[in-house]
């Protein structure tokens, strides 16, 4: 293998910061309950992960706060929303979609500020997809009987929704849009570290003139989530997050008969055959694991390379890593932003240390990380055994484990050797092999010659311990409906 070239000096980009003037933050936020701001009894500070700048004080919702939010949702469900014609519900959702499009830049800047993801991702991925999700489900609101013929679909009631910090506004839209389209009301809890776009979204609801109580937002940590899960007035729980918390929620709901959908962790295999288009595959691998700093449940974190192309592929991959620009999330040139929180950074560091200790070889491109804030360089581990923790556990960071295989059968065997089953990738120019692999990979989403693509019309969700239920598409309506037949 040839020595890797250092970063040439002329690769230095002039800073291209996106202005944050467009965002006006309140110093303090309460909980959004019944269309009004409820003064929180407990609070905490939410930070910008790029430099730990305090952004605002937000509420830590107590059981009483959650109770009021559920009560507001119950009232709104009983007093109008559940009997509103679907065509009218649709128009509220269309309004929300349009307002999100109009205020996209404001939301994108705030998303990058509070979450740490590069502005080009929040601008080009999160915001367009969030608006599209509302637009898509708006159209379903008055067509449910065509989606489920002979089944007499009706709303479940009050949905409790708990979302993660990796795609804060996008996950909000995945949860709220189908729930409202089906006639439910919701209490949503954003992630502890990324509450701000959800709180700003309340202003969109005001502009859309959504009836009070149809959407309620309570902020806080896991205690708030637990209060929501345990509340008797909630008819359905939708959770996106870690497999451990998902299992705890499933246990907690045992015997209650409440509806539940879980979208949990992953350890996706990205399988690269020797007849792939190599340059495209390298781009796909990079997108698969370094997109959003690897804070992606479906990230392609286990790379399986056919032995015959192992050396050239790894060399190209390392070379490509040297061109990734790590830095200020608000800089339009940035490819890899800040790690979302100190806690997550420590988790990544701990797992990476275990990879070194267990005997894997680590590669990180030379890059200057900012001194303040939470940062982790894009990382590749080679010489990884399947038993290593970095090949088994979800790291949820910009860390790739490279393994090898010889035959397609071996690739399938190794790819499926995990309790997870959220997503998988396959790279080959041979069509029949793509379909052969797609049939055998035990995962809810298979990306062939692409990776990390999302669309409101495309069902997303896991096999095995990656959860159950689908979000997106017609299938994404079902968790929010009861059926007479």
């Amino acid at each position: 293998m040839t020595d890797l070239q250092p970063i040439p000096d002329d690769w230095t980009y002039a800073p291209a910061p996106e202005s944050r003037e467009i965002v006006t933050l309140q110093p303090r936020y309460g909980h959004f309950v019944g269309g009004e701001w409820l003064e929180p009894s407990e609070t905490y500070e939410t930070l910008a992960p790029r430099d730990e700048e305090p952004l605002a004080v937000v509420g830590q919702a107590t059981e009483e706060d959650v109770d009021r939010a559920v009560g507001a949702a119950r009232d709104a469900f009983a007093n109008g929303w559940s009997t509103l014609p679907g065509s009218e519900r649709a128009k509220y959702l269309f309004r929300i979609a349009r307002i999100l499009q109009e205020r996209a830049r404001e939301f994108a800047v705030l998303e990058s500020l509070n979450g740490g993801k590069p502005i080009k991702e929040s601008r080009d991925v999160d915001l367009p997809l969030a608006a599209a999700h509302f637009f898509y489900y708006a159209g379903w609101a008055d067509k449910l009987e065509y989606a489920f013929p002979n089944r007499q679909p009706r709303a479940v009631g009050v949905a409790g929704q708990i979302i993660p910090w990796n795609f804060p506004l996008l996950m909000l839209s995945w949860k709220i849009a189908p729930a409202l389209a089906c006639g439910n009301t919701v209490v949503l809890k954003p992630a502890e570290t990324t509450p701000l776009t959800a709180l700003l979204f309340c202003d969109v609801l005001r502009q859309a003139e959504l009836p009070p109580g149809v959407v309620n937002i309570v902020t806080g940590d896991g205690r708030t989530g637990a209060a929501l899960v345990e509340h008797d007035g909630v008819d359905k729980i939708a959770f996106t997050g870690s497999t451990d918390v998902g299992k705890a929620i499933q246990r907690r709901l045992a015997g209650t008969g409440k509806k539940l959908t879980l979208e949990l962790g992953g350890k996706a295999a990205n399988v690269v055959f020797d007849d792939c288009a190599l340059d495209q595959a390298v781009e796909g691998i990079v997108n698969g694991i370094y997109f959003n700093q690897g804070h992606v449940c479906c990230a392609g974190s286990r790379l399986f390379v056919q032995e015959s192309i192992y050396e050239p592929l790894v060399e190209k991959l390392k070379q490509r890593l040297t061109t990734l620009r790590v830095g200020d999330p608000l800089d339009k040139n940035t490819d890899v932003g800040a790690i979302n929180s100190r806690m997550q950074l420590e988790k990544i560091e701990e797992l990476v240390a275990s990879g070194r200790e267990e005997g894997a070889d680590i590669y990180q491109p030379p890059c200057r990380l900012p001194e303040k804030g939470y940062w982790f360089a894009p990382t590749v581990f080679t010489n990884v055994a399947q038993s290593y923790r970095i090949a088994q556990e979800e790291i949820f960071g910009p860390v790739l484990s490279v393994l090898t295989f010889r035959t397609p059968e071996e690739a399938v065997e190794k790819a499926n050797n995990t309790p997870y089953g959220l997503s998988a990738g396959v790279w080959t120019e041979k069509g029949s092999r793509i379909l052969w692999m797609a049939q055998r990979l035990r995962a809810g989403v298979v990306w062939a010659n692409t990776f990390n693509r999302f669309d409101p019309t495309s069902p997303f969700g896991g096999y095995k311990e990656s959860g159950f239920g689908r979000e997106g598409g017609l299938h994404g309506l079902e968790p929010y409906l009861e059926f007479d037949a």
């Binding site: 010659n449 692409t450 019309t457």
Partner: protein, 266 residues
């Protein structure tokens, strides 16, 4: 003392296409007979047999699975008289047969009703197909002894799952008879496994088993805090099945949806 002494049947378990006694050596008396009483080890053996058989069953063409299930209906019809004596009567047998025929016709229609192509906003071909969840544990209801078992076991089979079923505890003989019909119907060994015995002996083992992907709690009256808590250990799909119901959504409860993306280009 004249005439011939009839040969009596030994009522055994059905695991991996064979009819073993319980490894525990235990039986219990039900409907006037000594019936094998499955142990936790028997339950684990049944899961192992189901796991081994499941990929082959899933790989069979939908057309083939439909014919095999139709053959099962033929086998029950052929011994309808015996079945009638082991359940509420002829009508229950006929409803069971007709239900199997109805489900047999679904194998090659599900993908079009449940899956489809998705019009994503980009240059990608994107489609969604149903696939089997894997190994399904079924707690059959006590009544109706035959129709209840058929109602809960056949839908997961339609979609390509393998099943470990716990028979009616009070009326297990119809289940043993059904096992004999299954054994002669071209259903591959291990795809259907039937345990008789005390539900409480084996249900927790099946609910907590890490190689069981879904559990149908019909026989636990559809709800069980203890079994559902155990099921969370590997995020099992928990189905609260009804004893007498017939719909494609019963099949869908034991299916996963897989979505595949591929770029469109020159």
């Amino acid at each position: 003392m004249t005439g011939r002494l009839p040969v009596k049947k030994t009522y055994k378990l059905f695991i991996g296409g064979a009819f073993p006694r319980s490894e525990s050596g235990r039986t219990y008396e039900a409907e006037g007979q000594n019936v094998a009483s499955a142990s936790r080890k028997d339950a684990r053996d049944a899961v192992k047999a189901a796991r081994a058989a499941q990929p082959g069953w899933a790989k069979a063409t939908a057309y083939n699975r439909g014919q095999v299930l139709y053959r099962l209906a033929e086998m029950i019809e052929a011994r309808a008289g015996e079945f009638a004596e082991l359940c509420s009567g002829r009508e229950e047998v006929e409803r069971s047969i007709d239900r199997i025929v109805w489900y047999a016709g679904w194998t090659d229609k599900l993908a079009q009703v449940i899956g489809g192509s998705n019009p994503v906003a980009g240059p990608y071909f994107n489609f969604t197909v149903p696939e089997p969840t894997g190994v399904v544990a079924v707690l059959a209801p006590d009544e109706p002894a035959l129709l209840g078992l058929v109602t809960r076991v056949v839908p997961p089979l339609v979609g390509g799952n393998a099943v470990v079923a716990v028979a009616s505890e009070l009326r297990p003989l119809a289940a043993v008879e059904l096992a004999e019909a299954v054994a002669t119907s071209d259903v591959p060994g291990g795809v259907v496994n039937i345990l008789t015995g005390r539900r409480g002996d084996v249900a927790p083992t099946l609910a907590s088993h890490m190689d069981v992907n879904a559990i149908d709690l019909c026989g636990a009256n559809g709800v069980s805090t203890e079994l559902e808590e155990l099921a969370a250990d590997n995020v099992k799909r928990v189905v609260r099945g009804r004893a007498d119901v017939q719909s494609p959504w019963e099949i869908a409860d034991f299916l996963e949806l897989k979505t595949v993306w591929h770029p469109i280009g020159q």
